[in-house]
Amino acid sequence: MSSVDQSPTSLSETRVPAPAVSDTAAPLLRVTNLRVSTGTTDLVHGVSLEVHRRGSLGIVGESGSGKSLTCRSILGILPPGLTVADGDISFDGINLTDLSYNDWLPLRGNRIAAVFQDPSSYLNPSISVGKQLVEVLRVKSGLRRRAAYTRAIELFVSMGLRNPEVVFWQYPFELSGGMLQRVLIAIALSGDPDLLIADEATTALDVTVQAEVLDVLSDLKQSRDLALILVSHDLAVVAQVCDSVIVMKDGEIVEAGPTSEVLRDPQHPYTQLLVENHARYGIEKYLDSELVVDLPEAVFADV
């Protein structure tokens, strides 16, 4: 088991650099031609993506586009009945598609972590949030009780939670959604992972809180050696944080590239629609003075 954990570091250093977007080193995560299937129908058809160390990739798509299934394949937690029918998922030299339960233990949580939508459903309602973080630290990082408490407080502080000693003893129902999501990010980061997958992690939050959580993620990207996959249905959310983006529709990638290029010059009609919608209905039309049309007022004058 330990050999699985050890070998990749040496492997990745000797590896021939792959065609990279921004980094010259081998990617931390490479998904090649991933196909997720129910046995009879494919739900994800041939998805390929790369994430580099310190890199951030956004995955945009509607519900049912296969973005969450792609993430779940990377975490090895596909829903029952679904399997990776084809393709390769290579994380730091380890092939993730054929790992046993025991092989996953040193990886999931320690090297690949995840946060999902609806933070409260991932926490035990009858245990204080601090104790839940301590539990993870003791099991996953082998810390003693005292050290785990100290580390937990440190993690809460780095998540921008005020009064961490108070938060530690609070129960999930006593905290707001934004605070809970920060607790979950703290738990996810407790194992000091190389890759964090945030699957719609900000969707259920207020905009101001969403911006706060996104800011936390942006800060983490810089302060830690962390690669990030951010899944969202909102292109703008991804644009806040990610260097590169892939757009998925019906289980396929319809567009991929550096975020700025995709936003400036979207190629696929679906991406064009997403960008145009923002220009028409978002606040962009007010912020960019060149674009102002002020339709509602003009219309209102006629009524």
């Binding site: 509607e62 519900s63 005020r162 707001s176 959604g177 207020d206 905009v207 101001t208 809180v209 969403q210 911006a211 706060e212 996104l214 800011d215 942006s218 249905h233 909102d234 292109l235 703008a236 959310v237 644009a239 806040q240 936003l263 629609l273 997403l274 960008v275 919608n277 923002h278 220009a279 028409r280 209905y281 978002g282 606040i283 962009e284 039309k285 007010y286 912020l287 102002v292 002020d294 509602p296 007022e297 219309v299 209102f300 009524v303």
Partner: protein
């Protein structure tokens, strides 16, 4: 003031009982004119939904007034000297009669919770009309809706919200989220309200459905001239595209009010600035993050 459809003045509302009773609205002033789309923006717990419920007469007020301008259809008993209905002063009986008339309608965020899962789309949409037909119409000596005219009116309502009439005999469980939301709007619109309040109308929807819903809602002012719309949302970006005016509610007080363009281009209150700065846009960067950080500190200091 004279031509405003809805006017809320110095409204104070407390919720809860006993020692847990807390003031939620601290003197709110708001108005919606005929034919106008107004956005009510605020974070979770700011009192947006309490304000909406108070407008509908679902909460008792501590003080203040909520007035809906009268029209020809208004029931005589509810109109006072100023030619409008003071929602807060209605007797329970008068309030029920006022509600049956359907002048104010409410569309909830989650149509699954507001639509009876056992009723067909037809029955859900027709119900309000049937209730009004048996009581209000009879009281005014008008002829109630016959079965055929009911069918025709439901089909009209479905047509108004862009749903095929073939869906009339389905139940909500058969429909997609976007379709259910349309049914909820059709249910409200069939009563020909003069004020439509939508609580987070697009929050639960995908990018494409969201745009379709915004287009539908903004089209109501053409299909039903003179209708006033009040949109409640925590996300400025999601409704800014179609609102004429915006009210920003923060901790139970309207901290800022102005045309959509004014609010977005030159927000004055720190919370509004944070709100505008937090709305995800396709552009965004380090400077925005720094600014948000400053504003959060500023707002936390005034807590």
């Amino acid at each position: 003031m004279s031509n405003s459809l809805l006017s809320v003045r110095d409204l104070r509302v407390s919720l809860g009982s006993g020692r847990k009773r807390t003031r939620v609205l601290h003197g709110v002033d708001a108005r919606v004119d005929a034919g106008e789309i107004v956005g009510l923006i605020g974070e979770t717990g700011s009192g947006k939904t309490t304000l909406a419920r108070s407008i509908l007469g679902l909460n008792k007020f501590d003080s203040g007034t909520v007035r809906l301008a009268a029209n020809a259809r208004s029931t005589d008993s509810s109109i006072d000297d100023s030619g409008s209905t003071d929602i807060g002063s209605l007797s329970p009986r008068a309030l029920r009669a006022f509600r049956r008339a359907g002048d104010m309608q409410y569309v909830f965020q989650d149509p699954l919770q507001s639509l009876d899962p056992d009723l067909t789309v037809f029955a859900s949409i027709a119900e309000g009309l049937q209730v009004r037909a048996t009581r209000t119409f009879a009281a005014r000596g008008e002829v109630g809706a016959t079965r055929q005219s009911l069918r025709a009116r439901v089909e009209n309502a479905l047509d108004l919200v862009g749903l095929p009439t073939s869906l009339a005999d389905r139940v909500p469980g058969d429909l997609s989220g976007g379709q259910r939301q349309r049914v909820a709007i059709a249910r409200a619109m069939i009563l020909e309200p003069r004020l439509l309040i939508c609580d987070e109308p697009v929050s639960a929807l995908d990018a494409t459905n969201r745009i379709a819903m915004l287009e539908l809602l903004s089209s109501l002012r053409y299909s039903r001239p003179g209708i006033g719309l009040l949109f409640i949302s925590h996300d400025l970006g999601s409704v800014a595209g179609i609102t004429d005016r915006i009210l920003v509610l923060y901790r139970g007080v309207v901290v800022e009010e102005g045309t959509t363009a004014e609010i977005l281009r030159a927000p004055k209150h720190p919370y509004t600035q944070l709100l505008v700065g937090s709305a995800p846009t396709l552009t965004g960067g380090e400077a925005d993050r720094e600014r948000r950080r400053e504003l959060r500190v500023l707002l936390a200091a005034t807590e």
